[in-house]
């Protein structure tokens, strides 16, 4: 590959080796772990995280951050749960469209605030995170939507199996493929990297970094909206606090996957591996008799170790002296 001299590709490779080694180690102790059924379960379990992390990656690439991603998911999820409760005969297609549109709308609000008012992304999304959570309460009156209030098609869509994998897993796979295509082979994708890598240079070459940020938030929001439906259908319940705090796990997956919080650096492969890493640990811990509450600690440790390893002091070389005499 031409890209192998790129440090991001090297990091992806290293993380891939770690994930495979991890899988191998757990399998050595518990052979049933690598059974296709169990692996399919891990993928199903990680699918929403993967989709969300891909959205979050696009935002972080452009030097933003979306703290409202889980609140957006919860609000969009509640919206479609209520829609399904009131119009159970409408089927899944309108549900999907509403979820994506609602998520994109909420994401675009973030994007416009960041772009048009030049507000710091962390402030904007911290604010909208609370607002979106509050809106769920207003929308639902604080009540739950339970599985007996959801139509069978609404619930079954995510569970339907094709070739041994659930629709949810297939959606994640499709998301990965689309994201890889977008980020590498389209002008928009490359502009996203450019805008985050060096905003000044981007505007000098005619790319508007603010516009790219707004686009990133909208795409991320649309994904969060879709995941809202997937989450509600998978867990068969909708209430105010679903996915509470999940945004931190999404950001953790991105960071483990090598996305630079300073923007401009990050790959689809890295993010997917980061999610699988979290997914494997989460599924393996109960097997080896460790409380899943260690999960957060392990995630944190990996982030810190990765940060230490990639922190290389760059000497600021200011060349003023003539190197060859006049």
């Amino acid at each position: 590959m031409h890209m192998i001299q790129n440090s991001a590709a090297r990091r992806d490779l290293a993380l891939g080796v770690i994930v495979v080694a991890l899988l191998g180690a757990v399998t050595a102790a518990f052979p049933q772990f690598a059974r296709p059924v169990n692996l399919a379960e891990i993928l199903d379990d990680s699918a929403i995280l993967i989709l969300l992390a891909l959205g979050q990656m696009i935002v972080i690439l452009t030097r933003g951050i979306d703290l409202s991603i889980a609140a957006n998911l919860a609000l969009s999820g509640m919206l479609v749960a209520l829609f399904n409760k009131n119009y159970p005969e409408a089927g899944v297609l309108p549900v999907l469209l509403i979820a994506i549109a609602s998520g994109a709308f909420l994401g675009a609000i973030n994007g416009l605030l960041v772009w048009r008012f030049k507000l710091p992304p962390i402030v904007v999304t911290l604010g909208t995170m609370s607002v979106y959570r509050g809106l769920i309460y207003l929308l639902s009156g604080g009540t739950w939507v339970n599985d007996n209030q959801m139509s069978p098609s609404f619930l079954d869509f995510v569970r339907h199996q094709v070739l041994g994998l659930t629709t949810l897993s297939w959606l994640a796979i499709a998301g990965i493929a689309l994201a890889a295509l977008l980020m590498r082979y389209t002008v928009t994708g490359r502009d996203l990297y450019a805008a985050g890598g060096n905003p000044a240079a981007a505007s000098y070459t005619g790319i508007d970094p603010g516009r790219m940020q707004c686009l990133a938030y909208t795409v991320c929001g649309a994904i969060a909206g879709l995941c809202g439906y997937l989450w509600v259908a998978r867990f068969a319940v909708a209430y105010t606090d679903i996915a509470l705090g999940f945004e931190l796990q999404v950001i953790a997956a991105c960071l483990i996957g090598g996305v630079a919080i300073a923007g401009g650096v990050g790959t689809v492969a890295g993010v997917v591996l980061g999610c699988l890493f979290i997914g494997i640990i989460r599924n393996a811990l109960p097997l080896i008799g460790v409380s899943p509450f260690w999960q957060m600690g392990i995630n944190g440790l990996v982030i810190v170790i990765a940060a230490v390893l990639s922190a290389r002091r760059r000497e600021d070389k200011r060349a003023i002296l003539e190197t060859s005499p006049a």
């Binding site: 389209t186 990297y193 890598g197 070459t205 401009g264 002296l321």
Partner: protein
Amino acid sequence: MAAALEPVTAQPVLNLTQVRKSFGGVHALRDANLDLYAGQVTALIGENGAGKSTLVKILCGIHQPDGGEILLDGRSIRVRDPEHARRLGINVVHQECVVFDNLTVAENIFVSARPRKGRFIAWSEMRKRAAEILRQLDVSFSPDTPAGQLSVAQKHIVQIARALTSQARVLILDEPTAALSHREADDLFRIARRLRDAGCALLFISHKFEEIFALADRYAVFRDGASVGSGMIAGTGSEQLIRMMVGRSVEQLFPKLETTLGEELLRVESLSREREFDQVSFSVRQGETLGIYGLVGAGRTELAQCLFGLSTPDAGAILVGGQPVSIRSPADAVAQGLAYVPEDRQQQGAILAFPIAANVALTNLSTLAPRGICSRERESELAHHWISALGVKATGPEQNVGDLSGGNQQKVVLAKWLARSPRVLILDEPTKGIDVGAKSAVHAVTSAFAQRGNAVVMISSELPEILGMSDRILVMRRGRVRALFNRAEATAENIVQAATGA
């Protein structure tokens, strides 16, 4: 149209007439006129702040002019944005390198015109065409290299390569050699000549006269945002160009006080720091103001930062009051009676979000809070004293520094240091970007400080300030001391000559 009557060859590719631009009441360009011809290199010459960079930004669509006319091939144009400029065939190699460190060379070259197959980027074609352009330019690096691994010179070449992806009518080189070695600069000139011979109109912005005479066919001189002369380089001498650059109609008034020189306060002997400055020696006495002049990048700020302990010298000695001292941190420097007012007032000088009182107190906490407990009253008292002593225009000690004008911010930074009663005050571009009234107030303060038996080291790029305020003037170029003038013998011409190496 008059231009149509002239022979075709004499028609400029790009013609600017009376272009104007101001920022918040400050005129960056008042009356800019410029002609660029196909197959010729025009050198744009002017002091720092003459309006050269503003002109470049107008030509590449980053700024919109307030007035005047720009003609491209005789047709009036308005450059909307950088993308539009590129489509018009106007390409710029910017002074500060604008490449994307995380992207490959190939992608950097094609960043605004990526070759596509349908809706998707054709990476192999991009790589092939980038390799082709790099071969044309006769350079050795591969199109797959991440741009972050390139040297500054190579990054400039990537920017030039960008211009070659489309029909470049006009190529602007904005001080491309500022950070380059001679050999790297020669490489760049070879490429520039090749483009010129291919019929491109080049605008070359540089402070270095040897380069101007080596590369340019024509010159255009700007001063204070207006064109003051243009013509052919052949038959023109550097003295003539310098006179046009610095000649000022209005002599600004500088309130320099008469002082008597006393003992030596600071002596620097053969101070060197790799890649920054080399073998710098000077001394400054009680009552004296030593001006340090040089172009941007001459190593003056690096020297000042080293004196103040922000970096450590590789070799040489610093003597304070005749005693050699070791300055390893700003705290050491302060303990030796040094004070440093940095160039970037807003980032390094003042804390904008703090009130005046807190800013002034910052350097004086040891006296204000001897047992580590701050006293609002004492802080406020001190601030009151300095607000009236320096004539800071503010509502009171509690006003945030960020709400003050640039000149008054600078007075607060000065107050912060003067309150400590230092012996040597190092000023780095002390009046950059502040209005004339505040300028002379700052000069009055520093001059009075010197008169009280202290010393001032003043780095400045403004010739009138250097000439008006200094007792002696040290000129640096590329990290070395090139000349030292007494007040009586210093003229704008000999200073600029020493600074540019003309």
